[in-house]
């Protein structure tokens, strides 16, 4: 823990940075609410002729989208862009001349960013949720155990997505421009984790492939809170995810260390 203490200021500075440009924040919050309102209309249209689709009732779908939106801040970790930019601009040199791990520093910086967004998003999600509960008369029963599991998933999901994104970011040591790879990585995570639509909507053949990957756990927190994953399965999932995270963290560390030897630092 003491070893990690020196990375906290990066997290703190990152949170502070989130609150500097007020105009951007307001605009971003307005867009978020607007996007949510659009989704409500979309799902309302989809559910016109059905009460339940793939096990999700209309109100559950709204809750799923609301919760996914909240948890999304921890799986929207675009380390790939940060790494690629720092390598391309040569700013990586500045971090490599400090007695810190480049990877951990970025981890805490991006964690700070996610926490900053969460602080901004919580009031919006609460207000939107409150409005939805009033309008659609939603009944939602959730247990303390479910909340505990969902919370425990968060750091693991964040670390998994960070490592995956960092892994792809490291490619920029070899290719310089990772724009194509970045888009692929972001879309891939969103698609295979159920952030766009619940995985239950996918065909069985695709689902059996996705079940072999750890990314399905990204959408577990909202699913657990909605009771769509049994708590026993959720605990097993948590352990499985932890194993995957260890594998990813180790793999990323080795890959980055080996890649650094090949690095060409641009400019000055």
């Amino acid at each position: 823990m003491k070893r990690l203490k020196k990375y906290w200021p990066f997290m703190r500075a990152s949170i502070m940075q989130m609150f500097i440009y007020r105009g951007t924040i307001w605009l971003w919050l307005i867009v978020d609410v607007f996007q949510f309102a659009m989704m409500v209309f979309l799902w309302k249209a989809v559910y016109q002729n059905n009460d339940v689709i793939n096990g999700f009732a209309f109100t559950e779908m709204l809750l799923y989208y609301l919760l996914t939106n909240l948890f999304f801040v921890f799986s929207d970790v675009e380390a790939i862009y940060a790494v690629a930019e720092e390598i391309r601009e040569g700013r990586i040199s500045l971090y490599l001349t400090k007695p810190i791990s480049y990877r951990l520093r970025l981890y805490f910086e991006l964690l700070g960013r996610s926490l900053g967004i969460l602080i901004l998003l919580i009031p919006v999600v609460f207000l939107t949720g409150f409005t939805l509960f009033l309008i659609f008369d939603i009944v939602w029963i959730v247990t303390l155990e479910q909340i505990l599991i969902a919370v425990l998933y968060v750091p693991l999901v964040f670390t998994l997505v960070f490592s995956f994104s960092f892994l792809f970011g490291t490619f920029s040591i070899y290719t310089t421009n990772v724009f194509g790879i970045s888009i692929f990585a972001s879309v891939f995570i969103r698609a295979v984790s159920g952030q766009l639509i619940p995985l239950a909507f996918y065909p069985d053949s695709l689902l059996s492939v996705l079940n072999l990957l750890p990314f399905r756990f990204v959408s577990y927190p909202p699913l657990v809170l909605l009771g769509k994953v049994a708590t026993a399965d959720a605990w097993i999932g948590l352990a499985t995810l932890a194993a995957w995270v260890l594998l990813f963290v180790g793999g990323t560390a080795l890959w980055f260390r080996a890649s650094l030897k090949k690095m060409v630092v641009f400019g000055g």
Binding site: K6, A13, P99
Partner: protein, 335 residues
């Protein structure tokens, strides 16, 4: 005591050559031509604790690559480097505790946050005790007047203030070794002077070893006793600044201040051109500046010649500027 030892170090980079034009782009896309570029070629030198070394050379000579290997960012293709007993590219983080780095063209400061925040982050990174941190900030405040801008976001600082802040950021943990890459680039005379004075003071007070890469040779003249001259990846000179001037500075500069502009126009030195074809004269109002090779022409002959031609009020004699000497070495090599 030796703090840096560089032993037969070579660094090769693989680059892919792109052919020109649309056709070339497609061709390179399918099969890019691989080229091995040697940025640093069999370089050896050592540096003692407390020295201020000027590491100079034209763009692309291999200066930054050497510095990046010394700081542990890059790994040499062959040869070995030790910095205070450590191999920097193997023990990067440990090495980083002992060094401070300033890249003049980049900032390590947090762009959007008040300057003070960057210093706080560095305090944690280097685990500087609070009393020591406060003492050092007070010391730099006295040197640079930090308190005037420490609460401002970095993006609002002037270039001079930013550079001063960057230097403070690299010295907060009192490193044994300081790498300065173009620390005075783009600064005004006062800011340059203040930075040079600080580097000198730090070096004297803490015996901090300084490796300075710069294109501003006034930095070298004011700060360094020794220079390492690198060109095309090879060290072509390693030694005293005065010695290079003595050995390679064969030019003499003589400036005459004359009574009037008409007098200046009377100065005719064409008769000397057979002895020194590189002889140059520049007229500036009532002044005439002559540059000639002292090995080809005797200074007394030149002065006597001009005294006979015009009404001379004052004479100023100087050795060639280091800048001209280095320029000549870049062009023609050491001969």
């Amino acid at each position: 005591m030796e703090i840096i030892k560089v032993d037969h170090v070579t660094k090769n980079f693989t680059i892919y050559e792109k052919e020109p034009g649309l056709k070339g782009v497609f061709k390179s896309f399918l099969k890019a031509k691989k080229i091995i570029k040697t940025a640093v070629d069999d370089v050896s030198f050592s540096v003692s604790q407390g020295e201020i070394i000027g590491y100079i050379g034209p763009n692309g000579a291999g200066k930054s690559t050497t510095v990046k290997m010394l700081t542990g960012i890059l790994t040499p293709s062959s040869g070995t480097i030790t910095v205070d007993g450590l191999i920097p590219y193997q023990k990067r983080a440990q090495n980083a505790k002992k060094i401070g780095v300033v890249f003049g063209q980049r900032t390590q400061l947090w762009w959007d946050l008040p300057l003070r925040e960057t210093f706080t982050v560095l305090k944690e990174i280097y685990q500087i005790p609070t009393a020591e941190f406060d003492e050092r900030l007070a010391y730099f405040d006295a040197l640079f007047g930090l308190s005037e801008f420490i609460k401002q976001p970095v993006r609002q600082l002037s270039l001079g203030q930013r550079m001063k802040a960057d230097i403070v950021a690299s010295l907060l943990h009192n490193p044994k070794l300081l790498f300065l890459d173009e620390p005075t680039i783009g600064l005004d005379v006062l800011a340059k002077e203040s930075i040079r004075r600080t580097i000198k003071e730090i070096n004297q007070k803490y015996q901090t070893t300084v490796i300075l890469t710069t294109h501003d040779l006034a930095d070298i003249e004011e700060l360094c006793d020794r220079i390492l001259l690198i060109d095309k990846g090879k060290i072509i000179y390693d030694g005293n600044v005065d010695l290079i001037r003595e050995r390679y500075g064969s030019k003499k500069l003589v400036s005459f201040t004359l009574r009037s502009e008409e007098d200046a126009k009377k100065v005719d030195i064409d008769s000397f051109r057979t002895q020194d074809p590189d002889l140059q004269i520049t007229l500036e109002g009532n002044q005439a500046h002559l540059v000639f090779n002292k090995q080809h022409l005797a200074i007394k002959d030149v002065i006597y010649h001009v005294l006979n031609q015009a009404d001379v009020l004052d004479i100023d004699i100087a050795d060639d500027q280091l800048e001209n000497i280095i320029k000549a070495i870049y062009r023609h090599g050491l001969s």
